[in-house]
């Protein structure tokens, strides 16, 4: 039970360094361009493809909303359980600006790094729609929940594009961007 994980090695656009791209059982057959410089291979022993695919989960569910309604306004608390620095560039500022411009939100606070953000919108706003809209607009910036650390990627690069780890080592090294 060994799998090979194709991992992005270069941060670009909304793709994070260390982001898991695809998984194959060993022996894997990779394409001619599925290697350096764009990608590295992380070989994980003692795990199945199904177990490894858990780490392909998206981060779209990281938004948690709660609100109180008083005096004609919703006071909305947005909890973003991701260190802001792990989000794509401009996520915090862009989200804040979008909510202000499109939904008339007035920010009370957005503490760093994990939030919560607190803002107010008119109580006529459908909060479910607001949430969906934010996800629509910024989902691409959220990226995946799990990534390999930059150091792991660098190690693989220096090792010719491949590293081998045990399942336990992989679980210890993979970063949960929710955490």
């Amino acid at each position: 039970m060994t799998v090979e994980v194709l991992v992005n090695a270069i941060a670009h656009d909304n793709i994070l360094k260390g982001q898991l791209i695809s998984i194959q059982d060993q022996p894997a057959t990779w394409g001619s361009r599925e290697g350096l410089p764009d990608y590295v291979i992380v070989i994980i022993t003692g795990t199945t493809k199904a177990q490894a695919e858990v780490f392909m989960e998206s981060a779209v569910n990281l938004f948690n909303y709660s609100h109180v309604t008083a005096g004609g306004v919703h006071e909305v608390t947005v909890t973003v359980d991701v260190p802001v620095q792990n989000l794509g560039g401009g996520f915090k500022a862009d989200t804040k600006a979008y909510l202000e411009d499109t939904w008339g939100a007035v920010f009370t606070s957005w503490t760093s790094p994990n939030g919560p953000a607190v803002f107010e919108v008119e109580d006529t706003v459908d909060l479910a729609d607001l949430k969906d809209d934010v996800l629509d607009k910024f989902e691409a910036k959220l990226g995946p929940r799990y990534i390999f650390s930059s150091a792991d990627v660098d190690t693989a690069v220096s090792n010719g594009g491949t590293i081998t780890v045990t399942k336990a080592q992989a679980e210890a090294r993979i970063i949960d961007r929710y955490a």
């Binding site: 194709l6 791209i21 057959t29 764009d38 392909m56 809209d133 691409a140």
Partner: protein, 679 residues
Amino acid sequence: MATWTVQPSGGDYTSLNAALSNTSTVASDIIEISGDWTSASDTAESTVEDDNITIRTKAGDQARHAGFYNGTTNWELNTSGNSHSLQIDNTGCILDGLVIVQSGTGNSDEGVRISSGGLTVTILNTIVRANSVTTDQDGIYAGNYVVTVNCENVICIGWGRAGFNAQSYRSTGADTHDWNLISCVAWNCGGGVAEADGGGINSHARSSSAVTTINCHNCFMMDSQGTNADFANFTGTASGTRTWGIDNCISSDSSITARDSGAVNANEGYVIGETDTADAQGDVLVNDITTAPYDLRLIDDAANDAQDEHIAATGAGLTFGDYVGSSVDIAGTTRPVNTSYDIGAFEVEAAGGGTVTFIAGLDGSATLAPDLSITAGLAAAFDGSAALAPDLSLVAGFAAAFDGSADLVANLTPLRTFVAAFDGSADLVADITPLRGFTAAFDGSANLVDDLSLVAGFVAAFDGSADLVADATVLRGFTAGFDGSADLVADISVVTAAVELAIALAGSADLAASLTTIRGLAAGFTATAVLAPNLTNIAGLNAAFTGSATLVPDVTAIRGLVAALLGSGALSADLTIPAGATVELAIALAASAALAGSVTPLRGFAAALDGAATLVPDATAIRGLVATFTAAAVLAPGLSLVGEDIPVPVLRLTGRWRGAVDLTGAGPGAVDLTGRLDT
């Protein structure tokens, strides 16, 4: 503009996500998917992040579906994470020939999600299917944006909310949606829990400044679930402008006219099924709506009310905005077949006359069954155990590739332009009658068997153990290369004056009984080749026999027999070259070659008999015998070296005679022995 390949092996990438997520793929690049995906899968959620990206399966490749996911070689993107199978963030994206499946169970897990504003997206010939029904789940979705979505030959199956969802749902904002659907299908959508904002195709336009325009031509949207309509408007408060233009469409409910009171050819209240229900308003008959992945290809049936439904153009010249529709269906079939267009993504290859262009990929255990009559343009790829079965009549334009154990069986009658590649153990069997333009490559253990009648233009390459057996009749233009253990056997008749039969028989090839070649036979016989009984070569037989080749009995070469018999080759009994013919018989008999009884070359006999060669008995060489006999060569009794009207001396024996050379029977005074007798 680069083209990047995605293949299970041997390509640039092995998944769509990897092809999209690197730094090499840039704007205007093409990602082309091909190969056999039987043992591979593509399961990673993928995102388009550059402008003008085209994602397509390769035309004609086994990775490309033919309107139905075949479960083996076809590529599909099948994801089960908690996001969308394919997300599009940039404009100009074109999807063509894809199968996109969402197996996730989360809310809003879409098939294709358009996730940015200012985008134009074109989706062609694509199947988008939900494996599990969830809430707020759409096949093709765009939210609070300004977007143009063009879809042609797109099928959405089983989505929890909507097949196609133009969902500008926010209460403020000037979102503009332009959706143009040509020959699209949505079936069984809107079945999510308490889902009331979906259906086949849904228009939202909630904001007062939102504008949504939806044009649907030649589509069927059927079996929307719950309270959802096939052609649906958001049922809640919506203040925007919603405009529908619908023509030549089918719905299960009455939503066509509800959306567009002026809809042309509105076919409402129809029933979709696998068999005719004799429903008063019409049935749309498809192959399978019972078992996933479902097969919504139309059935060719007189009761199929989506078939030959209307005469308006289905796509050619049909323009919505900047998008101009094509004139082919999801499988590449040119519309219309017969005189009218079929509603939906499929144009049925129907019987009933007219010009038919059949382009099909038959994979796995596909069968093209009895009584199919195709009058033109069959281009087919048969893989696996595909069978092209009895009574198929192909009038013109048959181009086929047969792989694996494909059979082209009884009573096939392609009348012209038959171009076929047979691989593996393919058989072209009884009663095939291509009349002209037959070009075939037979590999492996292919058989070209009984009762084949080829009138003209037969060009074939037979490899491996290919057989051209009984009763094949080639009238002209037969050019064949037989390798391995190929057989060209009984009853081949080449009869016309314009025959150019060029055959290379290698290995253990046999040119067997009853073969009659009139002229232009040029053959290379090697190894154990046999040129068997009843061959009559009138002219131009050019043959090289090596190994244990035998030209056995009753061969009658009238002229122009040029043969090289090497090894243990034998030119045997009853070879007769009648008087008066112009013979140019040049034979090299080597080793233990024998020119046996009753051989009668009249002139121009030049032979080199080596080893234990025997020119036995009753051979009659009238003139022009130039022979070299070595070792135990025998020029045996009955050889007559005379001729009634041939000048004397007519025989020039210029050879070197060794061993037990026997000139018994040589006519007196008719011999010019310029050679040397060593014994």
